[in-house]
């Protein structure tokens, strides 16, 4: 009798996901799917609203990465007010937004590593479930936990002074920003009086990379073989090939590093990217049009970005990038768990970028907004912590939004997450008579590597924790677990 395993929902990710794993009569995995059970609604909700509300309105999409939506939405409205397509803002406006964005990247990546990933690394994927969480980290690795807390706090404080407030920030507006950074605000991050300063953030980021490298060294066989599979990779890159998480051109490379497209303005993304659907999921399956849906799926996020860029434009992160690339022999990495390594290199890059920006006098400039000839369409892309985020709007002559299309990072990673789940299920569950908690956690570890935010990906209020069930060919659940 064949069997189906259901994991519903996934722990330590956002939103509500359900994993179904089918086993045949011999206990072999025949199919695995990550189901998204909520329904999209936000794209309809914004229709009829005035475009200038977009940067604030979109923050209700997600309580995890509101800054990314805030900035992608603001970039789209820049185009609508005629402030160019990423190159028309004043230096003060662009750099304030960049500081906000790198603060967001920094705190989000720090949170993922210390809160969501380090328990698996410190206690093992099959470690005791009672301690495999951030409280367990606090009990046994207090210094590491305190670093995580303070890195997260540093990023949040950067967001607060650039976005204006934690909830529904208003810093980015169509054509620019609504405030600059005062000297007093700046010095809080440099003098180390109220907070560990930005140099400390850089040092801790280096330490986190060393922590992961040490773990990798001790667990190389497991890490390198855990759900490793080739993929295409997509991200924004700067015109000279550098990593740029705020703005750039679209580049896609295949699993060997060969460019599929390059130097592509993102305002024409719809000529490059299609959005497929599958009957069993409400979440779309984006793909590269020239390759078709079957072969054109791709990864986004930290691993994909380190696979697409030519270099990182900050010295310490560049050194770490060279180590990373050397490990993959200069080719794109296909190792799922090296996403953690990539994420930490980006954490270091974000810290270096924050230091550079905090010392830039343009942040005290007074030209905050630029506008030009009004346009009827706006497209804003940004490299959010979890990957490329697309915002696209049409507006009518009354300034009302008539069309909205969003492709969020987790949606871009839909197909690779499904493949990751299947790979782990095959490796862990084939031929097993009993589905254990460590086996289920292994499936979750693969999903968590992508740091998905399913609530946002489905544009709906999320339901969160995770369940796993086994179902036979008749549809009968024969085993089930919830967390």
């Amino acid at each position: 009798m064949s069997t189906k395993v259901v994991i519903d929902p996934v722990t330590r990710v956002e939103g509500h996901g359900k994993v179904t794993i089918h086993l045949d009569d011999n206990g072999a995995v025949t199919q695995s799917r990550l189901h998204i059970v909520e329904f999209r609604g936000f794209e309809r909700f914004v229709q009829g609203r005035p475009y200038w509300e977009v940067p604030v309105l979109v923050q209700r999409l997600c309580g995890i990465c509101p800054v990314s939506h805030h900035l992608a939405g603001a970039k789209a409205t820049d185009q609508i007010v005629g402030a160019g397509t990423g190159d028309g803002l004043s230096p003060t406006a662009e750099k304030m937004r960049r500081l906000m964005h790198y603060g967001q990247i920094f705190q989000s990546h720090a949170l993922h590593f210390f809160h969501l990933s380090s328990p698996d690394l410190l206690f093992g994927i099959d470690g005791p479930i009672a301690t495999r969480n951030v409280i367990g980290v606090a009990l046994e690795h207090k210094d590491l936990a305190v670093q995580g807390v303070m890195m997260r706090k540093f990023g949040q404080e950067i967001i607060k002074v650039t976005a204006g407030k934690k909830i529904h920030g208003t810093g980015a507006i169509p054509g620019g920003i609504n405030k600059n950074l005062s000297i007093e605000e700046r010095d809080k991050f440099l003098d180390g009086k109220d907070l560990p300063n930005v140099d400390q953030m850089i040092d801790w980021s280096e330490g986190a990379i060393d922590f992961f490298k040490d773990y990798h060294k001790k667990n190389r066989e497991m890490v390198d073989n855990f759900s490793a599979f080739p993929s295409n990779n997509l991200s924004l890159v700067r015109a000279d090939g550098a990593m740029d998480l705020y703005h750039g051109l679209l580049r896609a490379v295949d699993s060997e590093g060969k460019k599929i497209f390059d130097d592509a303005p993102y305002q024409e993304y719809y000529n490059l990217i299609g959005e497929g659907v599958k009957s069993w999921s409400y979440m779309k399956f984006p793909f590269i049009l020239s390759l078709g849906q079957e072969n054109g799926w791709y990864r986004v996020g930290p691993l994909a970005r380190l696979n697409t860029v030519d270099f990182i434009p900050t010295p310490q992160a560049q050194k770490r990038f060279e180590e990373f690339r050397a490990y993959a022999n200069g080719k794109p990495s296909r190792i799922c768990l090296l996403t953690h390594w990539a994420r930490l290199i980006e954490t270091l890059h974000a810290a270096e970028m924050m230091k550079e920006l905090l010392n830039d006098p343009d942040l005290q400039g007074t030209e905050l907004v630029r506008t030009g000839t009004r346009q009827g369409e706006g497209i804003g892309l940004i490299e959010a912590p979890r990957g490329t985020l697309f915002h696209h709007y049409h507006v009518d002559e009354n300034d009302q939004i008539t069309m909205c299309n969003l492709i969020v990072s987790t949606t871009n990673n839909n197909e690779p997450m499904n493949r990751a789940v299947n790979n782990v299920a095959v490796a862990q569950m084939t031929g097993q008579e009993e589905i254990t908690e460590p086996m289920m956690n292994a499936v979750e570890v693969a999903i968590r590597a992508y740091d998905p935010c399913l609530s946002c990906a489905t544009h709906a209020v999320g339901r969160m924790p995770l369940e796993v069930s086994l179902v036979d060919t008749n549809g009968t659940v024969i085993a089930e677990a919830k967390k």
Binding site: I135, C453, V461
Partner: protein, 186 residues
């Protein structure tokens, strides 16, 4: 005594914003004088979409913390609408018609964190572990009804918010020690 009032939720999702709005209301009501007129406590206010690990450091610097959050059932056990949603409509507890409920938060030392956010008990446990600080923590759960991607509170939530604000202002005005709020816990 240092008291932190911390609102949790997303005001862009209707009644999910009850906690953050309570903080706004109290700040607005006291804008002309001391944070809470009639007391000599030192108040701080904060709000965010969700609690997270850095909040362990924030609460460590206070004697009393009052988390305010929306609840599907008056807060009998689910302090957040997220938790209420997790239960699913079919599994939610029987509705509790109380407009709000105050209850103490105990540390959750073995909490299994299911999302990017952290539960109030998890924050308290982290605070205990990392900073050796033991603030008294409470949840003021305010009943909400609508959770759509929209802005205005539902009519019922508006009424409950008013009642919760009045209650908390009055409770905090009363003289007391570290057990300031215990007498009100239901």
């Amino acid at each position: 005594m240092k008291i932190l009032i911390y609102g949790i939720g997303n005001p862009g999702r209707q009644d999910d914003g009850l906690g953050a709005l309570l903080v706004e209301e109290i700040q607005r009501a006291s804008s002309s004088g001391a944070p809470i007129p009639g007391t000599d406590h030192e108040f701080s206010f904060d709000a965010n979409y969700q609690l997270n690990i850095e909040d362990a450091e924030a609460i460590s610097r206070h004697d009393i913390v009052v988390f305010a959050d929306a609840s599907l059932g008056g807060g009998a056990d689910s302090c957040s609408p997220a938790a209420a949603r997790n239960a699913g409509a079919g599994n939610a507890r029987a509705p509790d018609d109380s407009p709000f409920r105050l209850y103490p938060i105990d540390p959750e030392p073995t909490a299994s964190f299911s999302t990017h956010s952290v539960s109030p008990g998890g924050i308290v446990a982290l605070c205990n572990q990392l900073y050796d600080a033991h603030p008294k923590a409470y949840m003021l759960a305010i009943r909400g009804y609508e959770w759509e991607v929209n802005e205005p509170l539902s009519e019922g939530a508006e009424t409950n918010l008013d009642a919760a604000v009045r209650f908390l202002m009055e409770a905090l005005r009363r003289p007391g020690s570290h057990s300031l709020l215990d007498r009100f816990v239901s």
